[in-house]
């Protein structure tokens, strides 16, 4: 174990902003739309590098999505970016009709997602964005686990032709991914091998899952950790394989329990290879102000919450097995 070292703390949104500039040099069709939070979502880097390819729409998220759709019709590759809640909730119908249904090449890239946005409170904590985007036909949904993966992800998403939603975070978070590891949309990454149970995580919870696996290994539990960076299209084969080989699943995400990564994984399990699953997620509640780390703990989505969920699912695994035997 201990394969993953914390290299430094850096924000996924910074990886996004830097990658946009790199791609901008190669792809003259890349355009960015800003809605008065460009410094926060780090599209300011692109704005400064390519001012003629940056468009400010003011604080008008619905207009931002519509403008992006029009730019896509004109052959551009538009990146529309603001905070997660205002990128998905506010312009939902514009995304549904003008982007997803119309199947236009619009990239919705949101920062400040999840409870870790912290002190701004519930209004600014996007906790339903994965669910909202995941249910839209034609839309793909991704979330990086660190700064390095954010860069690779945005490059893959710009190369992909079609509507996409990418979810970034505000805080500086642990950087641990391998620069040279391949990245493919829809192909999950097994970070740690194990046979007793699998944790499937996305975003910040990937690192928390690594910490949980390390802690549990000292108690003799062999935990597999999968980075499910693409929530849609979800890596069905990866999930089924993990279910078959470990017999128990824990999902972990900084999102509501309904409709997010956990639901996506459950949909695969129930239809293919049902095994006990526990959900580490926000339990159908709005968030509140506080600092990010404190809130992750309070809402039970940090390492400790994941460890508890693993123990619970392992108990279910053994009792449910016994019940099955008994029925026979």
């Amino acid at each position: 174990m201990a394969k993953y070292k914390l290299k430094e703390m850096k924000a996924t949104r910074l990886g996004f902003g830097e990658a946009l500039v790199e791609i901008g040099h190669q792809n003259p069709n890349l355009v960015v739309i800003g809605a008065d939070v460009t410094g926060s979502v780090r599209t300011d880097l692109f704005k400064n590098a390519f001012p003629e390819r940056f468009f400010s729409v003011g604080i008008a998220e619905q207009d931002m999505i519509g403008t992006a759709a029009g730019l896509a019709v004109a052959g551009k590759v538009p990146v529309a970016s603001t905070y997660g809640e205002f990128a998905t909730g506010r312009p939902y119908d514009q995304i549904r009709q003008s982007v997803a249904y119309s199947k236009l090449n619009v990239k919705i890239c949101a920062s400040h997602c999840g409870i870790t946005v912290g002190p701004d409170g519930a209004t600014h904590q996007a906790l339903e964005d994965i669910a909202l985007m995941r249910v839209l036909p034609n839309m793909i949904v991704l979330s990086p686990s660190d700064y390095i993966e954010a860069k690779k992800m945005i490059k893959a998403v710009i190369n992909y032709n079609g509507p996409a939603y990418v979810r970034f975070f505000r805080d500086n978070t642990p950087v641990f991914n391998d620069e040279n590891a391949p990245f493919e949309i829809g192909k999950s990454i097994e970070l740690i091998d194990g046979n007793d149970v699998t944790i499937i995580a996305c975003g910040i919870q990937v690192w928390e899952s690594i910490l949980a696996a390390e802690e549990l290994s000292t108690e003799g539990v062999s935990v597999r950790v999968i980075n499910m960076h693409t929530i849609k299209p979800i890596d069905k084969n990866g999930i089924i394989k993990a279910a078959k080989e470990t017999g128990a699943i824990v999902t972990a995400e900084d999102h509501q329990i309904h409709g997010g990564l956990g639901s996506a994984v459950a949909e695969v399990l129930t239809q293919n290879y049902p095994v006990p699953q526990e959900f580490v997620a926000i339990k159908d509640k709005f968030g509140e102000s506080g600092n990010g780390i404190e809130l992750m703990k309070y809402y039970g989505i940090s390492k400790d919450g994941i460890v508890d969920a693993v123990k619970k699912v392992l108990r279910r695994k053994s009792t449910e097995k016994m019940e099955l035997k008994y029925e026979k």
Partner: protein, 290 residues
């Protein structure tokens, strides 16, 4: 509630500024510039204009106030506390876990503070809510008046203009909207991010009674509110010209102060520019003596 005279209202405005600085230096997170620029307007609203009973926030005869631009919460919280809605020392809990003073306002019946009717923080939604409330009150032939405060950057949101049409269409005259015209938003000056001018003509064209004033002159603001009440066939909007961070030299008219708190040294500087008042601070820091 007893109304303060003009002199006291100015003194209260200075106290609200001191409170905002102190709250933010404790929370280490939050919006300084907009709230500081609104001290006169909040002093005038809560200590003269609004017909309210802070000990009975749900009093049926109350005037309704909506803060559409929820990020301006710090100055609202201090005005609410000073008016008596909740204890002054609660101001030190801004943005902390389990505080009623959420980063963006939440109503008391969720986990927010008394005096708050509806959550805000997602810009552009407050005018519709105010129009709905005004329509409801009119339906019941009630005398209560509805006030709503909007940021000027917030006017970028399309919903504002949808609500502006609804209000004019239904001749909602028991409503006064106030626009904080500080020409600042997050990314830059408002005229750089998204031009709003000619703003007065826009509101007029939408069918509103438009009143312009200097938002740092309490006399002018009170006079504007009076004028808005006199208008019986249209909704009224007061376009209050303010400066972000007004009365604090290093914040004055600087959009970079939109969303950041002062550090200790900046707080010390700011407080030295705002002399103490007879209302007294809600907290005294160790470093204030030196």
């Amino acid at each position: 509630m007893e109304k303060l005279n003009i002199e006291k209202l100015y003194e209260m405005a200075r106290q609200l500024r001191r409170d905002v600085i102190k709250m933010l230096v404790i929370s280490k997170s939050g919006h300084s510039g907009g709230p500081i620029g609104l001290a006169e307007i909040f002093s005038a609203l809560y200590f003269n204009v609004l017909n309210i009973d802070p000990k009975n926030p749900k009093w049926v005869e109350r005037d309704y106030f909506f803060l559409s631009a929820g990020h301006l919460a710090p100055v609202w919280y201090t005005a609410l506390a000073r008016a008596g809605y909740f204890p002054l020392d609660e101001l030190a809990t801004l943005r902390k876990l389990h505080s009623r003073l959420q980063g963006h306002p939440a109503p008391a019946h969720t986990h927010g503070a008394p005096g708050i009717e509806v959550a805000s923080g997602s810009l552009g939604q407050g005018l519709s809510i105010a129009v709905g409330c005004a329509l409801g009150l009119r339906l019941d032939a009630k005398k209560n008046r509805v006030y709503v405060l909007l940021g000027d950057g917030e006017l970028n949101e399309g919903q504002i203009w949808e609500a502006a049409m609804t209000a004019a269409h239904h001749r909602v005259s028991n409503l006064t909207a106030i626009v904080d015209r500080n020409d600042c938003q997050i990314d830059n000056y408002t005229h750089v991010v998204m031009n709003l001018e000619p703003l007065v003509d826009k509101w007029k064209a939408f069918g509103w009674n438009v009143i312009e004033c200097n938002g740092h002159s309490i006399e002018e603001f009170l006079d504007s509110v009076e004028k808005s009440k006199q208008c019986k066939d249209k909704p009224s909007v007061i376009i209050a010209k303010t400066f972000m961070g007004n009365n604090i030299s290093f914040m004055h008219n600087n959009y970079k102060w939109h969303g950041v708190p002062p550090n200790e040294e900046q707080a010390r500087q700011a407080l030295s520019e705002l002399s103490p008042t007879s209302f007294g601070d809600f907290i005294k820091f160790d470093w204030e003596n030196n």
